[in-house]
């Protein structure tokens, strides 16, 4: 089969799974919906591997296969196919997306086991993966936008999956609204590009762009900035990141899916996909790199002080995506995408382990309520620690190679801007290592909490049914989490994917070890062959220096966390007491939510109130009331004639006849 046919199979499989589950939710017994969904994604993964093999059998310059199902929109000057593009970049993305998504599906089978919305959950999950695969495989900007919007809709459905939870539905709406801002950016970018190049498919746009636009042409920079708006909204970059921590209201595997495999990586993919445009508009690329760096720094500082376990991981995602954006904006595509892959591994792993811990404390997410789980849940502990090591870029883990690759490339770009960004990146890496092990030490080490002791005895603690954010009581019917919690140490279908991911988080870096193997970079080369920066690689000594510095920074962060949380417990509280303002600033996430509230939400609400009270009641209802008043008055007049008295009718008749007779008499006279 050709690579194109495999591409269609990749899309068809989760779509079929979604439709089957959505239609058959009534008759699917037990956990079969979950297995069916997982099977659909496995089918996708197998097809991705097929596409990979088919692509590799082609000569290098032909490794960009387009396949069209039918003409989508065809009119004068516009020619859009429902077409996909299978090239090394998209195959790489579908492999990561479907592979990690499959493991998350398997994990969900047990994790969501007691939820009353079981089949609905898996239908949504399949839809989510389908949307992401569509986004990645799309062969033109129109289909890309479709996939882009689908992903936003799917994330809304899944974040507010527990729809009777007020906080969850609000988080879903927030995610959707911010994502729509990104959609609008993408659509405007498409318009700008189309007006310049007259094409909508990637190949056409990239081919026409160098002739249509000068270097740093105003229109092109605007288009690239709009692409960045789309990428930032989806990838949770400043200032459109606020939806991502709130998205933690969804079930934990959903967080893993959003953060690791799908959705947030879309922005990185978009920049990598449209790299010919960014190389033509380096000004926009600089903006991307600066925002990425600012985000990675901002999110790392916030992650230092958060107490919600999932939110810490969420901010770490924002931070890590910042690295990727920095990487692809600095034209280090291989490095950025390499980090995308390793991040998918260790972030999915961290979320799965976090889900297991959250299950152990009955749905609570605060690390204040956790501690000493290392004997109660040894498997979860080890896997979480591996994920944290990889996140902290501990030497020889997967995250180590990818993160340092990005920073080494950034340093290598020269000038004043990029080395500065790289230094900020190293500072961020230090903080990353610190907060990663803050989680490990706070959750798994220290004094065991009562739940840990119950687990050690072999029982399962029962969580109270309440919203962990607000404490509102809940039941366990559909729309709320199910009655039972599941932990990885006791569920084989949770254990297996975590084991695999832990393995990948440890050795997944083998595809891109600097100086030793560059499998990934070599594989991606055909996509970026035209890039002027493909040859600009750091020298060997620079690579080695980068690795050493990165490793040392990571280890230093871990040691500091060990010092503060294990050796001298309580010392962090003293630090908080000494710097209450800084702590509050970080805890409130740099007041971004408050800022948006003042700048956007409240004016919008005020505007709405003016509209409702002034325009709606004054103008609209006045007009409506006036019209109906006139009709009513006329009707009243007509009604009085209908007195019901026979004599009155007769009188009217006589008067009418007399009047007519009089008229004719006068006329004839």
């Amino acid at each position: 089969m050709s690579a194109g046919a495999y591409g269609w199979l990749v899309l068809a499989s989760p779509l079929a799974g979604m439709i089957l589950i959505a239609l058959g939710w009534r008759v699917l017994p037990g956990r079969s919906a979950g297995w069916l969904a997982a099977l659909a994604i496995l089918g996708s993964f197998v097809a991705s591997v097929g596409a990979l093999l088919a692509l590799q059998s082609l000569p290098e310059e032909e490794r960009a296969v387009t396949s069209s199902a039918f003409a989508y929109a065809q009119t004068v000057g516009v020619d859009v196919d429902l077409g996909i593009l299978v090239d090394p970049l998209s195959v790489f993305m579908v492999l990561v997306v479907s592979g990690v998504s499959f493991l998350i599906h398997v994990y969900s089978i047990a994790y969501m086991g007691s939820d009353r919305g079981y089949a609905r959950y898996f239908a949504y999950l399949n839809f989510f993966v389908f949307s992401m695969l569509l986004l990645v495989l799309a062969g033109n900007f129109v289909l890309l936008t479709v996939g882009w919007a689908f992903v936003g809709a799917a994330s809304y459905l899944l974040i507010s999956f527990w729809y009777r939870r007020d906080t969850a539905t609000r988080a879903g709406i927030k995610a959707f609204v911010i994502n729509v801002i990104g959609d609008v950016g993408l659509v405007i970018a498409t318009f700008l590009l189309f007006s310049g190049t007259g094409a909508l498919d990637y190949a056409g746009v990239f081919e026409a762009a160098p002739e249509a636009f000068n270097r740093n042409d105003g229109t092109l920079v605007a288009a690239c900035l709009m692409l960045l708006v789309g990428a930032f909204a989806k990838s949770g970059q400043l200032p459109l990141h606020t939806w991502l921590p709130d998205a933690m209201e969804g079930p934990t595997p959903v967080s893993a899916l959003i953060h690791a495999a799908t959705m947030v990586t879309a922005g990185v993919y978009l920049i990598a996909r449209t790299h010919p445009l960014f190389e033509l508009a380096p000004a926009a690329a600089d903006v991307g790199a600066i925002v990425g760096t600012a985000t990675l720094f901002f999110a790392a500082t916030v992650a230092l002080v958060q107490t919600d376990l999932k939110r810490i991981i969420a901010y770490s995602t924002i931070s890590q995506i910042g690295y990727m954006i920095l990487g692809v904006s600095a034209f280090a595509y291989g490095a950025g995408l390499f980090h995308l892959m390793t991040h998918a591994f260790f972030k999915a792993l961290l979320f799965m382990a976090a889900g297991s811990v959250i299950g152990a404390v009955g749905g609570n997410q605060s690390i204040e309520r956790m501690g000493g789980f290392r004997f109660a849940m040894p498997f979860t502990h080890v896997t979480f620690a591996i994920g944290a090591l990889s996140l902290a870029a501990f030497p020889l883990t997967a995250g180590f190679f990818s993160k340092d690759e990005i920073l080494a490339f950034t340093l290598n770009r020269g000038g004043t801007l990029y080395p500065t960004l790289a230094v900020v990146g190293y500072v961020g890496a230090f903080m990353t290592a610190f907060y990663a092990f803050r989680m490990v030490f706070r959750v798994f080490w220290g004094e065991p909490v009562p739940e840990a002791l119950v687990l050690e005895r072999g029982d399962m603690p029962h969580g109270e049914h309440a919203n962990p954010a607000t404490g509102e009581p809940e039941d366990s019917d559909v729309g709320f989490p199910g009655p039972d919690h599941h932990i990885a140490d006791r569920e084989r279908s949770m254990k297996a994917p975590m084991f695999l991911l832990a393995l990948l988080a440890l050795v997944g870096g083998a595809v891109g070890i600097p100086l030793v193997s560059d499998t990934l970079e070599h594989f991606l080369e055909p996509t970026f062959a035209e890039s002027a920066f493909i040859e600009q690689v750091p020298s060997e000594s620079a690579e080695i220096t980068g690795l050493v510095v990165g490793g040392l920074v990571g280890i230093a962060g871990i040691l500091l966390a060990r010092e503060l949380y294990l050796r001298r417990p309580g010392s962090t509280l003293a630090m908080v007491a000494r710097m209450p303002r800084l702590h509050r600033f970080l805890e409130r996430k740099w007041y971004f939510d408050e800022l948006f509230d003042v700048v956007f939400v409240r004016p919008a609400k005020g505007f709405g109130r003016i509209g409702r009270e002034g325009i709606e009641t004054g103008v609209v209802q006045g007009l409506m009331g006036g019209t109906s008043g006139i009709v009513r008055a006329g009707a009243h007049l007509a009604r009085t004639v209908q007195s019901g008295y026979l004599r009155a009718y007769a009188l009217l008749l006589v008067i009418g006849l007399s009047a007519m007779a009089l008229y004719f008499l006068i006329v004839s006279a």
Binding site: Q642, G644, L646, R647, A650
Partner: protein, 99 residues
């Protein structure tokens, strides 16, 4: 005699009928007054027929009488129906069609 007298008489009879219809409340009297109006009209028809020396007006008067007979049948039927349902024999009390 000139037709003027006949026509004047017919006008007087017609006006008496109109006045009765408009002013009386007893349906029986209203019906009688209607007959007066019709017969006033008939008188005018016959006068003019005689003036012109043709039979057209007379034929028309005969048709009016037939119509009047039909009308009386319907009207009396209504009055009997009112009586049998023990309603007040008063046209003003039958004002259910008031708008």
């Amino acid at each position: 005699m000139s037709p003027g007298w006949f026509v004047a008489l017919s006008a007087v009879i017609f006006c008496i009928g109109v006045g009765g219809v408009l002013m009386r409340r007893n349906p029986l009297v209203v019906l009688l007054c209607l007959e007066l109006m019709l017969n006033g009209g008939n008188l005018a028809l016959i006068s003019f027929a005689r003036m012109h020396g043709t039979g057209d007006g007379q034929i028309f008067a005969l048709i009016v009488m037939v119509v009047a007979a039909c009308e009386v049948v319907v009207g009396l039927g209504l009055i009997v129906a009112m009586y049998r349902r023990r309603l007040a024999i008063d046209v003003d009390s039958m004002s259910e069609l008031r708008g």
